[in-house]
């Protein structure tokens, strides 16, 4: 229920059920809760003792009171009844104590479990905040979200639902065995004959079950992914009349899912029935061999009762063992994934001795920068340029020529492969990343809107930006018209990812965001998506306003932006092939000129 279906189609690797490496890591999280954990364990031992005490008392009562009473021997009935009542009350008291202790133990366990989950979640999230963008590029968003949410819940389920109760079951099993052997060594020995069989059976069954479950998970994920995509792309399906074909594909996947389920059902049911038979052998032995001993007066009726009850307790934990096993496996897998995040080394750590330029000048310089995302394909090759404080630099070129990558390096979202990026005369790697980024305002091509108020979308969590600042930024970029039309103005909560706002409106909000944060350097990646003429004009004006008096690096698509720039760099395949201002580049009749003409070629034909 806490799984959103989209998150389901992920890597489903079931690891070992017990992996000491991960358990040790988890133990570290347990440390702050040592006292409550020890108390819980103590309570569990006490509970196990109390659980075993009850049948022992009843057995004792059978032998010493019920079976001993003999009216013909002149025993006083009231006397026996009273001592029976005493035993009954005693048991009642034990039950009362058990109820209270169980409650205490459950609450305590939850306290510990939730505490650990809170800490784990905090650490995963904190780590995610520290990790560089390259990490996010490598891992799909859904996967990272799962790390901070569902994966941790799975661990909690295993901890408070399995691990602790496995401990309890162990205590009880040990206790039962002690009591059984104490009663009759030989008889108990015979009764435990099926135990090795059980061990062998489950050892055989486990890998098969694991394989079947894995197949089920994969199929469920496939089914869900297929449905999700069909529903998202329903427009296309309808436009091209493909309902029938997709339906056929779905039936095949859905049927494979069904068959995988059946297989699991068959395997699990078989194991289930086998366990039932094996665990009933001791009881039948009790009827036969135990009965023989009772007949021979070697075993009392009370002891017979005790055997009957304890044998049941002994085998109780075996039922549901498969489910527990699977839960442990998924918990280990989750643990592994969580620690993968927490242990992920930060490949771009802050320097040991950070430098903070005083005063901050706002120049940007690339010196022979080469860069590659994957270490194979070079996106930037020997890029060098310098922007003086207050100047505007426009980057132009085809998609994939390296413009956006260049802008990412200024804020040190990635580290250069070779060469150097300097801001205010200092290598960006010598800054604290937070210090560096506090000087740079960024407007990205695809505007991200948080599902929060307009105000919070402009100022984000920078509380030093007042309402007036927010409003004047909104006004300055010309977004005031639509914001004031929203029913709640600044307090209007925007929908998830900004649905409901037009592309132009979202861009204006991003401009307001950058303006409100008032940074010395502006990095702007102009959106290519076409908007209507009026929005286009507003955006143009806002762009001019934003770039004024700031060092700006713009991935430019608007001719007006390009022409207003102090300098233009023309990128081709990761290199700067031309640079200069608009007039110079046109005069050159090179790549820029060609590109420029292409855009308007047809108009000139007329």
């Amino acid at each position: 229920m806490q799984h959103s279906p989209q998150q389901d189609f992920q890597e489903e690797v079931l690891g070992k059920a017990v992996d000491m490496k991960h358990i040790q890591r988890l133990m570290r999280y347990l440390r702050p809760y040592t006292t409550p954990v020890l108390v819980t364990l103590f309570l569990l031992i006490a509970l196990s003792g109390l659980t075993l005490l009850t049948p022992k008392i009843i057995a004792h009562a059978i032998d010493t009171i019920i079976k001993t009473f003999d009216a013909t021997a002149g025993h006083q009935f009231t006397e026996y009844r009273n001592s029976l009542a005493k035993q009954a009350l005693f048991i009642l008291a034990i039950f009362g104590v058990r109820a209270i202790v169980t409650m205490l133990q459950q609450v305590l366990l939850e306290y510990v479990g939730q505490g650990i989950m809170f800490d784990l979640r905090r650490d995963v999230f904190k780590r995610l905040q520290e990790l560089p963008l390259s990490y996010y590029d490598r891992n799909p968003a859904g996967r990272l979200i799962t790390r901070a949410t569902n994966d941790i819940n799975v661990i909690n389920e295993a901890f408070s639902g399995v691990l602790i109760y496995v401990c309890r079951d162990m205590f009880i099993m040990v206790g039962v065995l002690v009591l059984l052997f104490a009663m009759n060594l030989e008889l108990t020995f015979f009764m435990l004959i099926p135990v090795p069989l059980l061990v062998v059976a489950s050892a055989l069954f486990r890998p098969i079950s694991r394989r079947c479950w894995r197949a089920v998970r994969t199929m469920v994920a496939k089914t869900n992914a297929f449905m999700h995509e069909s529903f998202s792309g329903v427009h296309i399906v309808k436009m091209f009349n493909r309902e029938k074909q997709l339906g056929d594909e779905f039936h095949a996947i859905n049927n494979a899912n069904y068959l995988a389920r059946l297989k699991v059902l068959r395997v699990d049911s078989l194991f289930n029935s086998m366990t039932l038979i094996l665990t009933s052998i001791p009881i039948s032995l009790l009827l036969w061999l135990g009965g023989t001993r009772v007949a021979a007066m070697d075993l009392s009726f009370g002891e017979f009762y005790l055997y009957l009850t304890l044998l049941r307790m002994l085998f109780m934990p075996i039922t549901g063992i498969a489910e527990k096993y699977i839960l442990m496996q998924s918990a280990m897998a989750s643990g592994e994934r969580i620690f993968q995040v927490i242990d992920q080394p930060d490949q771009m750590p802050d320097p040991v001795k950070p430098v903070a330029p005083q005063p901050f000048k706002g120049s940007v310089e690339f010196r022979g920068v080469t860069f590659s995302y994957d270490g194979k394909r070079e996106i930037l090759k020997d890029v060098s340029f310098k922007v003086k404080p207050g100047q505007t630099l426009a980057l132009v070129g085809n998609t994939g020529s390296g413009k956006t990558t260049t802008t990412s390096l200024i804020s040190r979202f990635y580290d250069v492969t070779g060469g150097q990026v300097q801001v205010s005369g200092i290598d960006v790697r010598d800054f604290m990343k937070s210090e560096l980024r506090a000087h740079i305002g960024i407007v990205m091509q695809e505007v991200f809107i948080f599902s929060s108020t307009v105000r919070d979308n402009v100022r984000l969590s920078s509380t030093d930006i007042s309402d007036e600042d927010v409003w004047s930024a909104i006004k300055a970029v010309g977004a005031d018209e639509f914001v004031s039309q929203l029913p709640n103005g600044l307090d209007e909560v925007l929908a998830e990812r900004g649905t409901g706002l037009s592309v132009g409106q979202r861009q204006l909000l991003a401009f307001a965001r950058a303006l409100a944060h008032d940074r010395a350097i502006i990095v702007l990646d102009e959106a290519t998506a076409s908007v209507d003429t009026k929005s286009e004009m507003l955006i143009q004006k806002a762009t001019e306003l934003l770039l004024k008096n700031r060092t700006s690096i713009v991935v430019a698509h608007r001719l007006s932006t390009i022409k207003n720039a102090d300098r233009i760099l023309v990128f081709k395949d990761g290199r700067i092939v031309e640079e200069g201002n608009h007039a110079e580049l046109i005069a050159k009749e090179g790549a820029y000129f060609k590109m420029y003409n292409l855009q308007f070629a047809q108009q000139e034909d007329d």
Partner: protein, 578 residues
């Protein structure tokens, strides 16, 4: 044919279910007999009549009974659970097929997450409720009545006293249960809030990093995290107390058996075997009592889910009873069309009239939100226009079966949706098995071929979440190739150049120029460059046509088009100065 009732899914499998249930009863029946076997054996022991031969037989009987029970258990699990899985599969097949045939308007009303929940969680809940809840409930009832019956056979007085706590358990379950469920819902809600916080942080990571919002985000997450923890602890406290009481009540029965059973024994009203059997039965009473709440919830949940599934299944599908008109010509006519989307109030298209001749190319220009895409949506009957307002080939499109109508159009929609599949599959989505040459031709036309050849597996490269990610421009061009390959009589291009750079734009325009031959084309665009290649340009504002004509005519009018033209030309003119 689609099932008309949820029960129709179960009916064809009734014999499997009934047989399964019989095996379930056999399983429970044997379980009920076992204490009687023990009783008989022990009573014989007490009477000192048990020979070792007899005891061996008793042990064997017990083992044999368990063997039958194990076999019956396997049988019922396989029959009932297996059949309910089959029913689940059939329901999901039908539901999927049905959903995919529902009109686009339905998808505007319902969120995809919601539909996913219905097709997975709700179907699962129905399966559980019927295949598990209902049958297990019946079985529990058999166990309950059976146990009490056999107990009464052994000693009615002790039985009466032993089952005394049972009604209290039932009352407690039914009164406290709902309250616990309410808290549980709150726990889940706080988890959902936590997930949303994490989701936004991860998807918006660039903004977070660009504006150094890490600390603020950590704080936001900490609050959600803390709230979730608190809700869980609250739940644990109440749940713990509840379980404590629920544990205590059935324990009273055991105490009753010890005390009253002991007295009865001492008074000669009960044998020791009976005493043992009673203590065994009282344990099998506990199970049904404790599962009441569980089963009740399961069945409730199933009922809610049935309703949710049903609400989708009764939605009218996209496909009506229109008769095929045979050959359809490709001239298009909008006649005084006024339309607003069902989920919105404002009018999207107003008094819109336009004739597109066969073989003509018409460009539609206008601001975002001016109603351009709505016209396309109506033409394809993704939404139904009012009667008599839109016709194709002289036939009101409401009278043309949707499949036939849509088969006329090759469309590149504004949002270039691609599937997580190979490039090849995506381009050939509209047609089965085109040759590689054909795919190459359209991919080249759409200027995406070189991009594809750069990809690791060329045409077989998988795109999407688990494959490589395409840029917006690549997506758009792939979608364009898909529309070209469809090779339909009417080509609809909805803003096909919004995400491509200038060089590519010129190339694509040339390709469109080729494709428009022998076709009727509707081209929605914001670019003068693209619009001017049309035979006619239509400018719309607020859902109505404000200007139309050839480019020359419009420029003479000096109206809205001229303004856009000048604006886009402005930069060129400045350029000419030096």
């Amino acid at each position: 044919m689609r099932a008309h009732r949820i029960r129709d899914y179960f009916f064809p499998h009734k014999w499997w279910l009934i047989t399964g249930f019989v095996f379930l009863i056999i399983t429970s029946g044997i379980q009920l007999m076992i204490p009687m076997v023990v009783r008989f054996t022990v009573n014989n022991l007490e009477a000192e009549m048990a020979t070792s031969q007899f005891l061996l037989q008793a042990g064997m009987l017990y083992l044999a009974l368990t063997g039958i029970r194990a076999a019956a258990r396997f049988a019922w699990r396989f029959m009932i659970f297996g059949t309910s899985r089959k029913i689940e599969r059939n329901m999901r097949d039908d539901l999927y097929e049905h959903i995919m045939q529902l009109p686009v308007e339905f998808f505007g009303r319902r969120r995809i997450g919601d539909l996913m929940a219905i097709s997975s969680n709700d179907i699962d809940a129905v399966r559980r409720a019927v295949g598990f809840g209902l049958l297990i409930a019946l079985d529990m009832l058999v166990m309950l009545i059976g146990s009490i019956y056999f107990m009464a056979q052994i000693n009615p007085r002790v039985t009466m006293l032993a089952i005394l706590p049972m009604p209290f358990m039932a009352i407690l379950l039914l009164t406290i249960g709902p309250r616990i469920r309410k808290i549980f819902t709150q726990v889940q809600e706080s988890f959902a809030a936590l997930t949303v916080t994490a989701e936004e942080n991860v998807t918006g990571v660039r903004v977070v990093k660009a504006y150094c919002q890490e600390a603020g985000e950590e704080d936001r997450f900490r609050k959600s995290n803390l709230h979730y923890k608190k809700m869980n602890l609250k739940m644990a406290l109440i749940d713990g107390a509840f379980h404590g009481v629920m544990f205590l009540l059935p324990s009273l029965s055991l105490v009753a058996i010890l005390f009253f059973g002991g007295i009865e024994y001492m008074q000669g009203q009960l044998h020791i075997g009976g005493f043992l059997a009673l203590s065994m039965y009282v344990r099998s009473l506990r199970m049904p009592m404790q599962s009441i709440g569980f089963i009740y919830r399961m069945i409730q949940r199933g009922r809610v889910s049935i309703k949710r599934i049903w609400d989708v299944l009764i939605e009218k599908t996209d496909f009506g009873q229109e008769e095929s008109p045979g050959h359809i010509d490709t001239m298009i006519e909008f006649n005084d069309l006024t339309f607003s989307y069902p989920e919105h109030k404002h009018i999207a298209v107003k008094d819109f009239s336009l004739k597109v001749k066969k073989g003509e190319t018409v460009a539609i220009m206008g601001r975002t939100g001016s109603g351009k895409s709505t016209i396309i949506n109506l033409l394809l009957r993704l939404y139904d226009p009012p009667p008599g307002t839109v016709s194709v080939g002289g036939i009101d499109i409401l009278d043309i079966p949707k499949r036939e109508l849509r088969a006329l159009f090759g469309t590149a929609p504004q949002e270039a949706f691609l599937f997580t599949n190979s490039i090849r599959e995506n381009i050939s989505f509209a047609r089965s098995r085109p040759s590689d040459e054909e795919i190459q031709r359209v991919a080249e036309s759409a200027h995406v071929y070189d991009d594809i050849m750069d990809m690791p597996d060329k045409l077989d490269t998988i795109i999407g979440e688990r494959g490589i990610t395409l840029s917006g421009g690549q997506r758009q061009r792939t979608s364009l190739a898909r529309a070209f390959l469809a090779d339909r009589k009417i080509l609809i291009l909805d803003d096909p150049l919004s995400a491509v750079d200038t060089v590519t734009e010129a190339g694509i325009l040339r390709a469109i120029e080729r494709e428009k031959k022998n076709r009727t084309v509707i081209l929605v665009t914001n670019r003068v460059n693209a619009a001017r290649m049309a035979d006619r340009i239509v400018v719309i504002e607020r859902g109505s046509i404000i200007e139309q004509g050839t480019e020359k005519e419009l420029l003479r009018k000096n109206g809205a088009y001229t303004e856009v033209y000048k604006h886009q030309q402005f930069e060129v003119n400045i350029e000419k100065e030096p």
